[in-house]
C-alpha cells in the first residue's frame, strides 16, 4: 500500500494549517458589503460555509501539488520512468463519493436558504417596477396607483413583493445591500421578494445589458419608517389608474401606430 510511503500526518497537518489560514483571512473580510435585508445574512452565511469548504479543497490541491513537486522531481540526468501505478480503487471511490456528499450538502443548504428568503409574508406590500431604456419607475398600491420615477421609496422591516415589468428589452433589478436580483422581462411579470432591515439611501443597479445606457441605468432607493413612507406615498402627485406597460413595436411598416398600450396582468 503506497499510502505508507507518504508522510500522511505531515501532509494532513499542512492541509489543516493552510486551509485554516486561507479560511481565517477570507472570513475576516466582508465580501458582499452591508447586510441590509433579511436575506442578506442568510446568503452571506452560505458564502461563509462555502469559503470554509473551498479553503479545505483548495489547500488539498495546493499541498498535494507542492509535495509532489518537492518529493518526486526528477534528479538532473535521471531519464528513468516513475513507478507503474495505474490507480487505487479505494482512493478513486473516495474522491468520487466525498465530493458528491459535499456538493449535495451545499445544494441542500442552498435549497433551504432559497425557500427561506422567498417565503411570502401575508403582511407584504406590493410594489410594481417598470423598466425601460434607461430608466426605472415605480407604482405603489392604494386606491389609485401612485407613481414615482427614478426614485423608489419602501418601508423598513416590511416584506415587499416587487412585480417587475419591462417595456422594451430585458433589464435586471439589483440592490447589492439587499442581495436581491431579478430580471425584468418584457411580456411577462417577474417577482422578487425582499424585507429591508435598515433605513437609508441605496442605489438600484441595472445588471442586464440593455443598450448603450446600461452602465448608467440607476435609480435611488429610500428605505424609511412605515409612517414616513405612507406620508410620502400620500403626497405623490403623479398617479396612474392601473399598473400599465407601454410596449414599443419595432416595425413601423406593418404597425403604423408606434406605441401600443398593453395591460399588465
Amino acid at each position: 500500500m503506497f499510502t505508507n510511503r507518504l508522510p500522511i500526518a505531515k501532509l494532513a497537518g499542512a492541509v489543516v494549517a493552510l486551509s485554516a489560514v486561507i479560511a481565517a483571512v477570507m472570513l475576516s473580510i466582508n465580501w458582499n458589503g452591508a447586510e441590509d435585508s433579511t436575506a442578506a445574512p442568510k446568503i452571506d452565511d452560505l458564502l461563509n460555509i462555502m469559503i470554509v469548504v473551498s479553503s479545505v479543497i483548495f489547500a488539498i490541491v495546493v499541498v498535494a501539488l507542492a509535495y509532489a513537486l518537492i518529493a518526486f522531481r526528477a534528479k538532473p540526468g535521471d531519464e528513468s520512468d516513475g513507478e507503474p501505478i495505474h490507480g487505487n480503487t479505494r482512493l478513486e471511490i473516495a474522491w468520487t463519493v466525498i465530493p458528491t456528499i459535499i456538493v449535495l450538502f451545499a445544494g441542500g443548504w442552498s435549497w433551504k436558504v432559497l425557500n427561506e428568503i422567498e417565503e411570502t409574508n401575508p403582511r407584504h406590500l406590493t410594489v410594481d417596477v417598470f423598466s425601460q431604456q434607461f430608466a426605472w419607475s415605480f407604482a405603489y398600491p392604494g386606491k389609485e396607483y401612485a407613481y414615482s420615477q427614478g426614485v423608489l421609496h419602501v418601508p423598513v422591516n416590511r416584506q415587499i413583493v416587487f412585480k417587475m415589468h419591462s417595456q422594451d428589452v430585458i433589464h435586471s433589478f439589483w440592490v447589492p445591500q439587499w442581495r436581491i436580483k431579478k430580471d425584468n422581462v418584457p411580456g411577462i411579470t417577474t417577482t422578487a421578494i425582499v424585507t429591508p432591515t435598515k433605513t437609508g439611501t441605496y442605489q438600484l443597479i441595472c445588471t442586464e445589458l440593455c443598450g448603450f445606457g446600461h452602465s448608467t441605468m440607476r435609480a435611488k432607493i429610500i428605505v424609511q419608517s412605515e409612517s414616513a413612507f405612507e406620508k410620502w406615498v400620500g403626497g405623490l402627485k403623479e398617479k396612474v389608474p392601473t399598473p400599465m406597460m407601454v410596449s414599443v413595436k419595432q416595425d413601423t411598416e406593418t404597425n403604423p401606430e408606434p406605441l401600443e398600450r398593453v395591460e399588465a396582468e
Binding site: 483548495f58 490541491v61 509532489a68 531519464e79 507503474p84 443548504w109 442581495r179
Partner: protein, 633 residues
C-alpha cells in the same frame, strides 16, 4: 489568365465571392421590386440587401477556393479520381493557403488562424481594460464599448478556443490512433475554410452602419432583435463557425470509431482521444441549437417572424433556454479537449501512467451526460419557471464531481513519478490544475441559487469565466502548443522564452482575474462602460495586470515564429512519449505511416519494463523498447 479563374484558388475565390454577393443584392432588389417595395430597406434591423449577400458571399468563396470541386464533379457525373492526392500535404508555405486535405496541414491552418483571432480578440480586451482603468469615459463611448466586449467574447469563443482545440486534435488525433488521415478529408478542409470566414464576418461588423454587434456574445432577445445591422453579422457568422464545428465533430466521431489502428481498443485510447470523442458528442447535438437560435433572431430581424417578440406572440425567455442549451455544453466543448491535453502532458512529463485511467475516461462521459441538464443555471434570475432552479442547481453542483475526479487523478499521476519541469508545456499543465480549481470552486458557488442571485451578471461572473476559460482552456492550449510544437514543426522552441511567457501569463492571469471576484461581490455589474468611483483603484490594478498579460503573449508569438524558422531540429520523440504520434518522424510524413502500426498495450505504460503501446511497421513484436533520445535535459 482565364485559366487562373477556372482553377480552384484565390482568383476564382475572389471572383465567386463578388459574383455571389452581386447575385444576392440582385435577388433582394428583384424580389422587393416585384412585391412593390422600395428596392433597398435601411431600417435599423433590416438591410436585406446586405444580409442576403452576407450569406451568399461566403458560400461563393468556398465554391471558388475549391471546397466543393470534387463533390460537384462527382454529383454532375464528371470524371473524378477517387485517390486524388494532388491537394494532400504541404511542400511549400503556399500550400497552407490552398484547400488541402491533409489533416496535418489543416491542423496547422486551424492553429495559426485561430491564434491570429486570439491576438485580435486580445487587442480588443486591451482596449476594454484601457477604458475601464479609470471611472468615467476616456477612450471609447458606451456604444463602442458594448461592441468591443461583445466582439472580444465572440472571437475568443467561436474562432479561437473551439477551433484551436479542433486544430490541435486535427493534427494529433489521427496520428495518435494510427490513422493515415481523418475519415473525411474533404469535409475537414471545408470545416477549416469556414472558420476564417466566420472570424472575418465578426470583425467586418465594425464597418456596418450602427457599429459592430453590441448585445453581448449571448445576444439576448429582444435587445438583439432590434439591434443595428451589426447583429446580423453575428447571426450569420455563428452559422459558419457552427457548421465548421459540427462537421469537424462528425469527422472526429467517425475517425475515432472506425479508423483506430488494429489493437487499439477503446480502453487503449489516449485520454486526448477520449476527450475529443466526448467533445464531439457535445458538439453534434448541442451546436445546432445555437445555429437555430441565431437563425430565429435573424428571421425576427429581417422577416418579422416574431419568435422572440413579446406582444406579437413571441416569448423572450425561450431565447435564453435555446441559447443556453447550446452554450452551457459549449463551456465543456471549450474545456474537455484541454483536459485531454493535460492528461497527455502530465503523464509524459511525470513518466507515470495516468492514475485511474478508466475513471478519467468515464468522468469525461459523465460530464457529457450531465452538461445537457444544467443549462438553466445561467437563468436563475431570468424570471423562468422558478421551480426549475432547484434541479438545475443540483445537477450543476454534481458536475463538480467528475471534474474533481480529473483534478485528483492528475495529482495522483504525479505521485511516485519522475517529474520533469524542463518543458514549458508541463509548467502550464501544473499551473492549470491550481488555476482551474479556483474556477471550479467559484463555479460551484455560482451553482448555489441564493448566492447566484447576488452575483449573477456581476464581475464575479467575469472572474469565473476567465478563470475557467483563460486559466483553464487557454493554459491547456499553451500546454498543448508547447508540447506538440516539435512534432508539428520539426523544430524545438526556446525554453527560456517559454518560461518567461509562462510566469508572465500566470501572474497576469491571477492579477487580472482574482480582484474581479472582489469588485463583483461588492457591487460592480458586468458589461458596463462606466462604474462607481469606489471600484477605481481595483480596476486600475486589474488593467495593469491585463496589460502585462497581453504583453507577454508577444513573447510567445516571437518564440513560435523564430523557433519555427530557425529553432534547432527536433528529435522524433523529444519528451519520451509512448503514444503513436511520438513514434513517427517530426514532422510526420505526408501519409503519416508507411504501414499502419499495431497497438499492443495501453497508452501510458511508463515504468513497466518492455511494455509497448504500439509497434511500428518493420519492427518485430519481440523487439525491446529502444532508448529514446531526449533533448534539453
Amino acid at each position: 489568365m482565364v485559366a487562373a479563374f477556372t482553377r480552384p484558388g484565390w482568383y476564382r475565390a475572389v471572383l465567386c465571392t463578388v459574383l455571389a454577393a452581386a447575385f444576392g443584392v440582385g435577388l433582394v432588389v428583384l424580389l422587393r421590386s416585384i412585391s412593390g417595395l422600395s428596392a433597398f430597406q435601411s431600417e435599423q434591423a433590416g438591410y436585406p440587401q446586405v444580409v442576403v449577400p452576407l450569406i451568399l458571399a461566403p458560400l461563393g468563396f468556398l465554391l471558388g477556393i475549391g471546397c466543393f470541386d470534387y463533390w460537384l464533379r462527382w454529383g454532375f457525373g464528371l470524371p473524378t479520381i477517387p485517390d486524388d492526392h494532388s491537394s494532400h500535404g504541404a511542400y511549400s508555405w503556399k500550400d497552407y493557403f490552398k484547400v488541402n486535405t491533409d489533416h496535418k496541414v489543416i491542423g496547422v491552418q486551424y492553429v495559426v488562424t485561430s491564434f491570429i483571432f486570439f491576438l485580435i480578440g486580445g487587442l480588443l480586451a486591451m482596449l476594454i481594460r484601457a477604458e475601464l482603468a479609470q471611472p468615467g469615459t476616456q477612450i471609447v463611448g458606451a456604444s463602442t464599448f458594448n461592441s468591443l466586449f461583445s466582439t472580444h467574447a465572440v472571437l475568443m469563443i467561436f474562432v479561437f478556443i473551439i477551433p484551436m482545440f479542433a486544430g490541435m486534435a486535427n493534427y494529433v488525433l489521427p496520428l495518435m490512433i494510427g490513422a493515415p488521415d481523418m475519415a473525411f478529408p474533404r469535409l475537414n478542409a471545408l470545416s477549416y475554410w469556414m472558420l476564417p470566414l466566420a472570424g472575418i464576418m465578426f470583425l467586418a461588423s465594425f464597418l456596418a452602419p450602427g457599429g459592430a454587434f453590441d448585445a453581448g456574445w449571448t445576444g439576448y432577445a429582444p435587445l438583439s432583435t432590434s439591434a443595428p445591422l451589426g447583429q446580423s453579422f453575428f447571426n450569420i457568422g455563428v452559422q459558419f463557425a457552427g457548421f465548421s464545428s459540427i462537421f469537424t465533430a462528425l469527422n472526429f466521431l467517425v475517425t475515432i470509431v472506425t479508423m483506430r489502428a488494429p489493437g487499439m481498443t477503446f480502453w487503449r485510447m489516449p485520454l486526448l482521444v477520449w476527450a475529443n470523442l466526448s467533445t464531439s458528442l457535445l458538439v453534434v447535438a448541442a451546436t445546432p441549437f445555437i445555429s437555430g437560435a441565431q437563425f430565429m433572431v435573424l428571421l425576427d430581424r429581417i422577416l418579422h417572424t416574431n419568435f422572440f417578440q413579446f406582444g406579437a406572440g413571441g416569448d423572450v425567455i425561450s431565447y435564453q433556454h435555446i441559447f443556453w442549451f447550446y452554450s452551457h455544453p459549449a463551456v465543456y466543448i471549450m474545456i474537455l479537449p484541454g483536459f485531454g491535453i493535460i492528461s497527455e502532458v502530465i503523464s509524459v512529463h511525470a513518466r507515470k501512467p495516468i492514475f485511474g485511467y478508466r475513471l478519467m475516461a468515464l468522468a469525461l462521459i459523465g460530464i457529457v451526460v450531465l452538461s445537457y441538464s444544467v443549462w438553466a443555471h445561467h437563468m436563475f434570475v431570468a424570471g423562468m419557471f422558478s421551480w426549475l432552479r432547484v434541479p438545475m442547481m443540483l445537477t450543476t453542483l454534481l458536475i463538480a464531481v467528475p471534474t474533481g475526479i480529473k483534478i485528483f487523478s492528475w495529482l495522483g499521476t504525479l505521485y511516485f513519478g519522475k517529474i520533469h519541469t524542463k518543458s514549458t508545456a508541463m509548467l502550464f499543465a501544473l499551473a492549470m490544475i491550481v488555476t482551474f480549481t479556483i474556477g471550479g470552486i467559484s463555479g460551484v458557488m455560482l451553482g448555489m441559487v441564493p448566492f447566484d442571485i447576488h452575483v449573477s451578471d456581476t464581475y464575479f461572473i467575469v472572474a469565473h469565466i476567465h478563470f475557467v476559460l483563460f486559466g483553464g482552456s487557454v493554459f491547456t492550449i499553451f500546454a498543448g502548443l508547447y508540447h506538440w510544437f516539435p512534432k508539428m514543426t520539426g523544430r524545438m522552441y526556446d525554453e527560456r522564452l517559454g518560461r518567461i511567457h509562462f510566469w508572465g501569463t500566470l501572474i497576469g492571469t491571477w492579477g487580472t482575474f482574482i480582484p474581479m471576484h472582489w469588485v463583483g461581490m461588492d457591487g460592480m455589474p458586468r458589461r458596463v462602460a462606466d462604474y462607481a468611483s469606489q471600484f477605481g483603484d481595483w480596476n486600475l490594478l486589474i488593467s495593469c495586470f491585463a496589460f502585462l498579460l497581453g504583453a507577454v503573449q508577444l513573447i510567445f508569438v516571437y518564440n513560435m515564429i523564430v523557433s519555427w524558422r530557425f529553432g534547432p531540429k527536433a528529435p522524433d520523440n523529444p519528451w519520451g512519449g509512448k503514444s503513436i504520434e511520438w513514434l513517427v518522424s517530426s514532422p510526420p510524413s505526408v501519409f503519416n505511416f508507411d504501414e499502419i502500426p499495431r497497438v499492443v498495450g495501453g497508452p501510458y505504460e511508463y515504468g513497466i519494463p518492455g511494455a509497448r503501446h504500439a509497434i511500428m511497421p518493420g519492427e518485430g513484436a519481440e523487439v525491446p523498447a529502444t532508448q529514446q533520445t531526449v533533448v534539453g535535459s
